[in-house]
């Protein structure tokens, strides 16, 4: 048993960032996080917060589309979805009725890098809530009729998503950027691949990956250490460690060419996505990239793209750029909607801004504003128990260290204008990009 005690004083962070000349003295914001590695390999992160009688639980399982084969795309997602559809002790309808009777919520969801099970429950119902949580985690039975039902629902909802131009554009964009890499597919898979998934595939995926030594349990709320230990002993004692299957490589072939995909639909607006491969979360340039992207297109009304395309040109309601945070290299993308006949102009403006940030140093003011926002908004980003529970699991998964909150301002504040220019040149490419446009193509009349 190895156990460490961490103490975070956000007050320190605040004093560091702001001059304390305001009306109010900031109150101390400290939350204790205890990290414990159990003998079965499960990492437990626990933070007590007794101001409200609620408990938030997040279990992160390190399994996702990165662990599924191309022809079974959607397997990780379907496995997660079926956890709630039948256990050794309960039918699907019993699970939803029992959890909803408590006014609690219990969900399983799936991201590009991991699966999470989330429980939100009142303190007074914690015992029942944790019992249901452990039942779906440890005893799912994957009933055949529930598998069929869930497959039809997922396929139906994929079909309905095609009413959303943004969905169509992003699906085409991922496919073009990532090719055969798993990130190039929807986490749901496609109607064809979903049909190939069999009950034994689900059982195998579950038993290969849903292991304590492959998981992180994060709990924040009105629960003492003793209470937590009692729950873990009572409900998770049977969860046994096992060897993980070897993971096959998910090789990524980076194409350095410009590619344009046009999809024609009867729409009033063109949905435009422009971008290419980005960086992985563990790239040391991550912090410089965060600031560069904030200035370029990630910073809402403060970003250059928003200032020029929305504020000055009046051509879009929203425009935004992002680097997705993934275990492996993710996406860099700019997304914007504008009326069909402005599409050409908006694309050229996006490219112009990409070139500008690669040519010129950002101003001192832009740099310091971005740093102030990124560091100063941290307390706000952790202002609920649910957000803290998810954040702790995320920090553990990406190996950021539990002192991340203390270190983050230092990481951000060390970045210089030269660093910004360097990463803009390294990670933005205004020549070799993928451009997807979903629009009334006749009206858009693109020359790209």
């Amino acid at each position: 048993m190895n156990s460490k005690q961490f103490k975070k004083h956000l007050i320190f962070l605040l004093l560091l960032l702001f001059t304390v000349s305001c009306l109010l003295t900031p109150n101390a914001y400290a939350f204790n996080v205890k990290r414990t590695a159990l003998q079965n390999g499960l990492v437990v992160l626990h933070s007590e917060e007794h101001s409200l009688p609620i408990v938030m639980v997040t279990l992160l399982v390190k399994a996702s589309q990165l662990n599924e084969s191309k022809d079974k795309a959607g397997l990780a997602n379907l496995t997660a979805e079926l956890l709630l559809e039948g256990t050794k002790h309960r039918k699907s309808t019993d699970i939803s009725e029992e959890i909803e009777f408590l006014g609690a919520s219990l969900d399983a969801s799936n991201s590009r890098d991991y699966i999470t099970i989330s429980l939100s429950v009142l303190k007074k119902d914690m015992s029942k809530g944790f019992e249901l949580f452990s039942d779906i985690l440890l005893n799912p039975t994957f009933p055949q009729h529930e598998i069929e039902r869930k497959k039809e629902l997922i396929k139906g909802s994929l079909k309905q998503s095609e009413e959303n131009p943004s969905f169509i554009a992003e699906r085409a964009f991922r496919k073009e950027v990532f090719g055969k890499h798993p990130y190039g597919r929807l986490t749901e898979g496609s109607a064809e691949t979903i049909d190939t998934i069999k009950r034994e595939d689900l059982i195998k995926f579950y038993s290969d990956h849903f292991l304590p030594n492959n998981s992180i349990l994060s709990i924040v709320g009105d629960l003492t250490e003793d209470e937590l230990n009692t729950f873990i002993k009572r409900y998770l004692d049977d969860w046994k460690k096992a060897d993980l299957p070897p993971r096959s490589a998910t090789g990524l072939e980076e194409k350095k060419t410009k590619r344009v995909v046009k999809i024609d639909k009867d729409l009033t607006q063109a949905t435009i996505i422009l971008g290419h491969i980005g960086i992985s979360r563990d790239n040391p340039d991550y912090y410089a990239v965060s600031i560069m992207n904030y200035i370029f297109g990630g910073g809402g009304f403060s970003s250059r793209l928003m200032q020029s395309i929305r504020d000055e040109m009046g051509l879009a309601y929203d425009v935004d750029s992002s680097f997705s945070l993934n275990k492996e290299k993710g996406l860099f993308q700019v997304e914007v909607q504008t009326k069909n006949d402005s599409a050409e102009l908006v694309i050229s403006e996006v490219l112009k801004q990409m070139e500008r940030i690669r040519k010129e140093h950002v101003s001192d003011e832009d740099l310091s504003d971005a740093k102030s926002y990124l560091t100063g908004s941290f307390p706000r980003r952790l202002d609920t128990n649910r957000k803290i529970a998810d954040f702790l699991a995320f920090v553990e998964f990406y190996n950021l260290g539990l002192d991340y909150i203390e270190k983050y301002p230092g990481y951000i504040n060390s970045i210089t204008k030269e660093d910004i220019l360097k990463v803009a040149r390294k990670y933005l490419d205004p020549e070799n990009y993928v451009l997807v446009v979903v629009a009334n193509q006749k009206k858009a009349a693109l020359t790209y």
């Binding site: 956000l10 605040l14 702001f18 305001c22 009306l23 109010l24 003295t25 900031p26 109150n27 914001y29 917060e49 009688p53 609620i54 699907s92 309808t93 009725e97 909803e100 009777f101 006014g103 429950v121 009142l122 039902r149 039809e152 139906g156 309905q160 095609e162 009413e163 131009p165 995909v261 999809i263 024609d264 009867d266 729409l267 607006q269 809402g300 009304f301 403060s302 200032q307 929305r310 504020d311 040109m313 009046g314 051509l315 879009a316 309601y317 909607q337 009326k339 310091s368 504003d369 102030s372 926002y373 560091t375 100063g376 908004s377 941290f378 307390p379 202002d383 609920t384 128990n385 193509q441």
Partner: protein
């Protein structure tokens, strides 16, 4: 809106028994500005919100979208600050700001590290009285709103149907028109329209400030007095009460456009809080669609598999009577007629036989838990107080509690019979037509 509603109800059921007593500090300035402050010291953050009692229902005919366009213009500068600098100032302090417009009110909100809370107070006081409304900025922002309309409505089949149904359900009341405005109305809005509307509706006597978070109420109220206290109260406004005549016969609207799946949206006229039936309608809505174990989900999605999703939505917090909605997306291959008939069959069932005690209890437990959980967020908590203030006074929360507590099995049957009837409904159906081409 459903989440809010659930939360609201439970403010109510809980306070007297299990929760701590809410300590709301209230003050009204001489110019009519009301201020509510709730101290919460869990995290070093605070929200500052200004609620104006004006929304799309207050717009002159032919100028739909005026309230919402003005909301956008509130970010475009004052005599002190140039266009678009407000958000930049807020962001560089680590804060975030936003705004939204409804039929009845318009809200401006900021979220901040609590040691910076004086900044939004200053900015909001400034734009309550000194908005520039520069004509050039106005034209540009009007085209931004048109893009927003294209994004949210024109190119979204289900939202388009919502507009059709709302417009058909009302023939007199301004709830007929969309908050974002009709495209042709947007084109006709001029700078003077905005200016007159701003001068009429944006004043201390027509606003409420709500603050929740890690603040000291005594200090902050002094600061508010300094910055807002000298703003003149604003003109007297005529309080027009619109009244929609009783609907006497089903209305049906069809929408044919490019879409993937048929979609059904049914709207029944229903009373608003604090009408005595509003409480039972709230509980009924949860029995019908509060989760996967609810009646509609179990029947249409789980058992018959004819719908991908189904929902009911009753928002009793409009100023005047609004609508009780039911909606469902057909599964691929299923007939929207079947979906509609099955939905009505479930409604008929609850009109004849009261729900079980466990069903009512489940609805109440859901409401209770959501209320407590939402207190985790200062932002949502502040919004709750604001909504009740817009209905008259945050103290109405108590009355609401009383009403919900009294709901019985028989009340559910009674309100289902009274409102969910054929003559009182407007039915919208989205019929997909489709043609997709792709080139590389």
């Amino acid at each position: 809106m459903k989440q809010f509603r659930i939360a609201l109800i439970y403010l109510i059921l809980i306070i007297p028994s299990t929760l701590y007593a809410l300590d709301i500090k209230e003050q009204k300035l001489d110019n009519g500005l009301k201020v509510l402050i709730v101290e919460k010291h869990k995290a070093p953050v605070a929200t500052f919100q200004v609620w104006y009692r004006t929304g799309s229902r207050d717009e002159p005919a032919g100028k739909s979208g005026l309230s919402h366009l003005l909301e956008h213009m509130m970010f475009k500068g004052t005599s002190r600050y140039g266009p678009s600098v407000l958000s930049k100032i807020i962001q560089k302090s680590g804060g975030t700001d936003n705004a939204y417009t409804t039929q009845d009110y318009t809200v401006y909100l900021e979220l901040f590290s609590s040691d910076r809370i004086t900044l939004p107070i200053d900015l909001e006081a400034d734009r309550m009285q000194n908005l520039t409304l520069d004509p050039k900025e106005m034209f540009s922002e009007r085209s931004v709103v048109m893009e927003e309309r294209r994004l949210r409505y024109e190119d979204d089949p289900q939202n388009s149907l919502f507009e059709e149904v709302e417009a058909a359900a009302y023939k007199v009341h301004p709830y007929q028109r969309p908050v974002i405005g009709w495209m042709s109305d947007l084109k006709s809005i001029e700078r003077d329209d905005l200016y007159n509307y701003y001068k009429t509706h944006y004043s201390p006597s027509n606003a409420v400030i709500v603050i929740v978070g890690d603040v000291k109420a005594d200090q902050i109220i002094e600061h508010i007095k300094i910055l807002f206290g000298d703003i003149p109260p604003g003109p007297l406004r005529k309080n027009i009460n619109f009244s929609e005549p009783e609907q006497r016969g089903e209305r049906r609207v069809l929408l044919r456009r490019e879409a993937e799946l048929p979609y059904l949206l049914v709207a029944y006229h229903a009373p608003s809080f604090p009408h005595e039936d509003s409480y039972a309608l709230d509980v009924l809505s949860l029995i019908l669609s509060g989760g996967k174990s609810s009646r509609l989900y179990t029947s249409l999605v789980y058992e018959k598999k004819i719908a991908l999703d189904v929902d009911s939505d009753y928002d009793g917090f409009n100023r005047e009577p609004y609508l009780f909605f039911l909606d469902a997306t057909a599964s691929p291959g299923s007939d929207i007629k079947d979906v509609e008939n099955t939905l009505y069959a479930e409604i008929e069932k609850i009109k004849k036989e009261p729900p079980s005690e466990r069903e009512i209890q489940k609805a109440k437990n859901q409401i209770e838990a959501s209320f407590i959980m939402e207190q985790d967020s200062i932002y949502l908590e502040a919004i709750k107080y604001g909504i009740f203030e817009m209905l008259g006074d945050w103290g109405l929360i108590d009355r609401y509690l009383e009403g919900i507590r009294k709901v019985t099995r028989e009340d559910i049957v009674k309100v289902a019979n009274r409102y969910l009837k054929e003559d009182n409904r407007t039915v919208g159906i989205l019929i997909p037509t489709k043609e997709v081409k792709s080139e590389k």
